[in-house]
Symmetry: D2
Subunit: 379 residues, 4 copies
C-alpha cells in the first residue's frame, strides 16, 4: 500500500497540495448501495469554516466539493469514489522567499532534507493542515455508513490556551452546542474565555493550542484485532497523522499510571439482562478490542507554528543564521478546525474496522437483484 493510503477495507488515498490544483481523496472499499450526494460531503466540510473570522480564522475558504467517480443514480456503486476540491488562485510568492529558510515548528527542514528540494513547498505543500480537507471528505462517507450501524461520533474542544472546559455535559448537549461555539467548545462559558485567549495570542503575534476530545457511541464489543491491529493502535495512528497532534490518550490515559489496579479496572454487572461495565476508565478499548463502552479519546494539539513574531532560523543556501517572520494570515489557533478532522479520523478507522469485522456488509440494503430502483425512489 502506498504511504498516502490508509485503511484495510475502507481505504483512503489522499492527493493534492496546499497551493497545487486541488486536494482530493480516493475512497476504495465503500460498500455499494449507500445513498450519497455531494451535499453529504459538503456539509461536513463546511464544519471547517470559521463562524467568527476575527477570532478563529483570517480567511474563509469556501471549498466546493466535486464527486468524480463511484456514484451512480445517487448510490455508491462499490467502485472507488474520487472526491476533490479545487484550490483557489493563491499568491505563492511569499513562499519563494522562505524556500531555503525553514520555518520553526513546520516540516520545512526535514522535508527539504528528505526530498532534496524537489517537494512543493508552497504553503507547506503536503504538510499543510489544508490536507485535512481530505480526511473530512472521506470521513463524511464513513460517518454516513456508521450512522447505518447506529454509531454516533462527536468531537469538541475541551481546552484552548490554558482555558479548560468546566461543566460535564451529556452527549446530547455536546452534539447540540459544539457548533454553536466558534471554538467548538460546548461549554459556552468556557468558549468565550477560549475566544479571548486566542484573540490575546493573536494580538501578540503568537498562537495557542488545545485539547480535543472525541466520543464514539454504540460501538459493539469485540471490534479490533489483538497484537498488531489493535483498535486503539489504529485510532492513534490515524489521529497522529493529523498535523500538529502531539499526544493521544484513551480513557484516563496518562492518569492511569497514577491509579491502583483496583481503581482503574472497570468492573462488570448485569443490567437489564446485559453485561455492563460500571466505569469507563479504559475509554472503550480493552486489549485492543472495543469494550462496548463509549470510546473516549483525548488529543493534544500544539499551538499554530506560523506566528507573526520573529523567530531564529537559518538560511540553508548560505548556511548562516537568520531571522524569520512568517507572513500571510494564519489562524492563531487551529484547534477549532482540528475538531471535525479528529471526528472524521475516528469515523474512518471505525468504519474500516466494522467492514473488516463483517459488521457492515460489502453491498447494502437490498437482498434481490433489480430492486434497487425502489430503494432509489424511497431515498
Amino acid at each position: 500500500m502506498g504511504s498516502n493510503s490508509i485503511g484495510t477495507e475502507f481505504v483512503v488515498t489522499c492527493f493534492g497540495e496546499s497551493h497545487g490544483r486541488c486536494i482530493g481523496a480516493v475512497i476504495d472499499g465503500c460498500p455499494a448501495g449507500l445513498p450519497l450526494t455531494v451535499e453529504d460531503i459538503q456539509n461536513e466540510l463546511n464544519k471547517r469554516l470559521p463562524q467568527n473570522q476575527e477570532i478563529i480564522s483570517t480567511r474563509r475558504e469556501e471549498d466546493i466539493v466535486e464527486l468524480l467517480s463511484g456514484i451512480y443514480e445517487g448510490f455508491t456503486t462499490g467502485a472507488p469514489i474520487c472526491v476533490l476540491v479545487w484550490n483557489k488562485e493563491i499568491n505563492s510568492e511569499d513562499y519563494d522567499a522562505i524556500r531555503h529558510t525553514p520555518r520553526p515548528g513546520h516540516a520545512d527542514y526535514p522535508a527539504r532534507i528528505k526530498y532534496l528540494g524537489f517537494n512543493d513547498n508552497r504553503g507547506g505543500g503536503r504538510f499543510s493542515g489544508r490536507l485535512t480537507v481530505a480526511f473530512i471528505m472521506a470521513g463524511a462517507i464513513a460517518k454516513k455508513l456508521l450512522k447505518l450501524a447506529g454509531i454516533d461520533i462527536v468531537a469538541y474542544s475541551t481546552e484552548i490556551g490554558c482555558v479548560k472546559m468546566g461543566t460535564s455535559l451529556s452527549f446530547e448537549e455536546i452534539k447540540e452546542k459544539t457548533y454553536q461555539s466558534s471554538v467548538r467548545c460546548p461549554d459556552l462559558k468556557a468558549s468565550k474565555l477560549m475566544e479571548a485567549a486566542i484573540l490575546e495570542a493573536k494580538n501578540e503575534g503568537d498562537s495557542v493550542g488545545g485539547i480535543v476530545e472525541c466520543l464514539a457511541f454504540n460501538v459493539l464489543a469485540g471490534v479490533g484485532e489483538p497484537i498488531f491491529d489493535s483498535l486503539d493502535a489504529e485510532l492513534a495512528k490515524m489521529i497522529f497523522n493529523i498535523p500538529a497532534v502531539k499526544g493521544v490518550e484513551f480513557g484516563v490515559g496518562f492518569e492511569a499510571p497514577r491509579m491502583k489496579g483496583s481503581q482503574n479496572n472497570d468492573c462488570y454487572a448485569i443490567q437489564d439482562g446485559e453485561v455492563h461495565a460500571l466505569s469507563n476508565n479504559s475509554g472503550g478499548v480493552l486489549g485492543g478490542l472495543s469494550s462496548g463502552m463509549p470510546i473516549v479519546i483525548k488529543v493534544a494539539i500544539k499551538p499554530t507554528p506560523s506566528i507573526a513574531k520573529e523567530q531564529k532560523t537559518v538560511d540553508m543556501l548560505e548556511m548562516k543564521d537568520t531571522i524569520i517572520q512568517v507572513k500571510g494570515r494564519h489562524d492563531a489557533c487551529i484547534v477549532p478546525k482540528a475538531v471535525p478532522v479528529v471526528e472524521s479520523s475516528v469515523a474512518l478507522v471505525l468504519v474500516d474496522q466494522l467492514i473488516c469485522a463483517g459488521l457492515i456488509p460489502k453491498v447494502l440494503g437490498v437482498e434481490g437483484v433489480g430492486e434497487y430502483s425502489d430503494i432509489a425512489e424511497e431515498n
Copy 2:
C-alpha cells in the same frame, strides 16, 4: 496484510498463545548479510527477566530462543527469519474456572463476544502480555540493524506508582544505570521508592502502573512520510499495540497545548556548519518526519489488571453478578517488563522506516560476489 503482521519492508508476523505451545515471530524483509546469532536475541529477551523477584515478578520465565529459518553460516540470508520460544508446561486449570467470568481490565469480555467463545482464553491467550516476547525477539534484530546505521535507542521507567524520577540524566548515564535498577529506572534513588510503591501495592493485593520514556538518537532528518504514514503515527500505532498502554506523547506532548507558539516552536541555528534546533519540544518529529533531533516518546502504562483483591464481575453463562478473585502469581507492576518492549517497538518502526527510505540497503556489507566468507571470518 494479515492483522497479526506489522511493517512495510521489515514485516513482523506474530503467532502463538500465552499457554499454547510457543510464542513466535516471522521477520520478513530483514536485509541479507547481517551477522546474527541466537545469543543476540536471547540477550535482549533476558531483559524481561526480573532481577528482584520479591518486588517485580513472582515467576522467572527462562525462555530459550530458537531460530528456525533465515540464517545461514551466521548471516541473515534475506529469507524470512522464524524465531520462537517454547512455552513451559503451565497449569491452565485456573483459567477454566473463569472461562465465563470476564476479569475486569482484561480483554476477556470483548474477546468472548468477538470469537463467540472459540478463542484460547488460557492465560489471556493472544491478549496476554507474554506475547510481547515476540516484540522483543523481532526488536533484537531491528536493534542490530539500527546499530549499523548509528542509531541508539533506550527506554526506561520515569514514573511508577506515583513516584517520579527526579534528576535529569545524560544518555550515557541512562544507558549505564537503567538495568542496574530492578524497576528499570536509572535514577537509583527514585528506583528504591518505586520498588517500595510496588511492594506496598502487592501487599494490598493491588497493583500500580507507570510511565516509560524512550529516546532514539541519531535518526537522520526526513524519515517518515506525510499524511498517512507519519513517523509519529507509525510509532504510536506500534506502541499502542503493547498491552496496557493508554497514552502516547511526543516531546512536550500534552504540555504543548499549554504553550504559546513562540515557546513551543523549536528554532534553528547553524552550529559547526550544520543546522541545529535550539530546543526539542517536538520530540524529534515535525510534520510526520524525523527532525534530526532525538526522538522522545512517553508511554502511559496502566496498573496490572490482574489483582488479588475481589472485584465485581458477571457470570456470562448464567448471566448473573458475581465476584472474582484472580488467582495465580501476577506482577504487581508490569512497567519494568514493558521497558524493553517499548524499546523494541521503537526499534521495529525505525528500522522499517529506514529500509523504506533506502537508508538501510536490502543486502548489507559486501559489494562483490564471493567475498562474504571474509566478512564471516571478521565477524
Copy 3:
C-alpha cells in the same frame, strides 16, 4: 490495500467509469526528481488512437490528459500524482435497454450478481476496456523511470485472427515498425493480412482476437522475490488484470512441457568477461527472479465480446430467454489497443520491482539541496 490499487512501492490506484465523468489514476511512490510533463503521458496515451479507423476502430477518442498533483516546476515531488482524462458526453441510452440483459462475453452477469444492481453498467462501467487508459497513463511514468535505468520495453501483435507474424525481427526493427502498422504488427506484410482478417470479421458482424508479445531489455539479474512475489507472478497478475486476456506465458511457455530438460535449460558461458545464457527458453525469469536475459511474455487476447451478430441471452427481470444484438460502434479487434496496455503493464511491474530492490532510488538525480533548478534547466 484497496482492490483498485496495485504495486508495492510504485502504487497505482485507478478510479472512474467508462461513461462516468473521468478515468483517473493516482500514482503513489513515484520517486521525487523525475522531469515529467503532461506531454510525456499524452504521447503514450495517443498510442491507443487508431491510425486506420475503418479497420481498427470506429471511434477516435481524443483523450486530453490532465495532471492534478505531484508535479512542481516540471519535476515529480515524491507526492502522489493524480492524472486523469475527462470523458466526453456519451449517449448512454443504449445501456439502459440492456440493463437486465447480460451481454455474452462481458462481465454484465457476474457484476449484477456481485453488486445487486448498484454498479454503473453504462458502457461496462468499471469492466470496460476504456479503464486501461489508467494503465497507460501510469505506465507512461513508469516507462520514463525505466528509461533512466536503461530498460527498454516493446509490445506488438504477433497474431490476429489466425494470421501469424512470419519473419523474426530485431528489437530495433520492432521498435521502428510496430506503430507504422495499424494493427501494431512490425511484420508489415502480416500486418496487411491481419487488417484484412479484422475487416472480414467486421463485415460479418463478428470479431477476432490475437496474441501480443512483450519484450523487456536490460533488466538486471535478481529482480523479484522467491515464493510469493515472483517476478513472473507479478507480471502475470498485472497482465491478467487487462480485460480480455485469457493466457500468459513466459519464454517457451506452453511449449516447455514438450521439451526435455536438456533442451529447455538455458546453459551458461563466459562472454566478454561476463556470464551469459546461451538461450532464453525461460523468457528471462528463473525461480521468480529476472535472469538478466530479455523478458519475453506472450499474452492471449480473446475476440471482442461486443459483436453485431445476434446472441442468446436472458432477461433477468422477467427471467426468460431472449436475444441480444449489441448496439453501438465497437472495435472488431481490440488487440491493437491492447498492445500499449500490455507494454504499460509490464513497465508498471518492473518499475515497482526495481524500486523495491533499491535499484531506483526514492529521490532522483541530485546529491545536494538547492541544485534542482540546474537540473530543471538541463531537462
Copy 4:
C-alpha cells in the same frame, strides 16, 4: 506486506529452506470455529508422496506435520495458525561443490547476484520445489473452508512428456481416479504411457514436463474485483509462484485468439429457473469475476531442471566456462508433485476471495456464546 506473504484476508506467510531446519507457514485470517486436526493437513501433504518410486521420485520424504498455534480444543481460534514440517538430516555437501557454479534452469545465478552470495544455496534454498510443502499445508486449511462453502477443487495431469490425456472424464471420475495414477492422470491408459515417458527420460539422464489442469466447482458468480484484483489475476499470480510454471490459461486460453467472438462468447439461457451459460470458453471468469461456471485453469510445467546429463555452465569464482553434472537423486518429472500444489494454490486464492466477499464469515458455526462445546462434541 512482506514478499513472503500472500492473500488479503486469508494471508499465508511462508518460511524455511530446503535444507534448513524446517518448512513452515503462518496462516493469518482463518475464521474461528473451523474444526481442524493435524491429520487434515497431513492427509493433503501425503498427496506429494510418490506411489511408484521407481518412476516418479527417487526419495520418499515422509514429512510429519506439526501445528504450533491457532488451534484450541480442536477448533481454529481466529489466531494465526503456524504449521511446519521439520527437515530430515540431509547431506548438503554436494551443494558446496556447486556454490559458485550455477545449475542451468535453476535460480542459482540470479539468486547469487541478488543476495551477493548470502542466500542459503543448499538444495536451492528458498527456490526449491520443496517449499511447496507450505502451499499444501496452507491449502489443506483452505480446502476445508471451501468444502463448507460447497466448493470442490481437483487438479490432475493432462499431459506429460508429450503424452496427452485422451478421453474426456466427468468430475467424479477425475476425483476418483487421479490418485490411482502414479502420475496423477485420471485417464489410466494415458497414465501408463506417461510413466513410460518419464522412465525413458530418466534412463537418458534427462527429464520431462507436462500440463496440469485444475477445476473448481460451485464458485458463485461475482467473486473477484475489477481492475487490479481480478480473480484470474490473483489465481495466475499464485500459480506462477509455483516453481517451474511457465504458462497459465483460463478456459480456451491461447485458443481464444483463434476463435471468432461469436464462437468464443458464452451465451446464456434460463434453465430450471436460473441463468446458465451454454458453454464455458471463459473458464469460469468474466471481467475478472467468477461467472458461476466451473473455473478451468491450465498450467504449463517445465521439465525438471536438475538432470544427470552434462551441461555447460560457468565457474563464477574463476569466471571461466565449465561443465556441470547435477548430483543427487532428482525426480525426472515434477508434474505429479505439482498436481496437489496447483490444487492448493487455487484453494488458497478462492478462500481468500470468498472471505473478502463476505461469503465466508470471520467466525463459523455458532450464533451464541458458550455453545461451542456442543459443537466440539458433535465434530
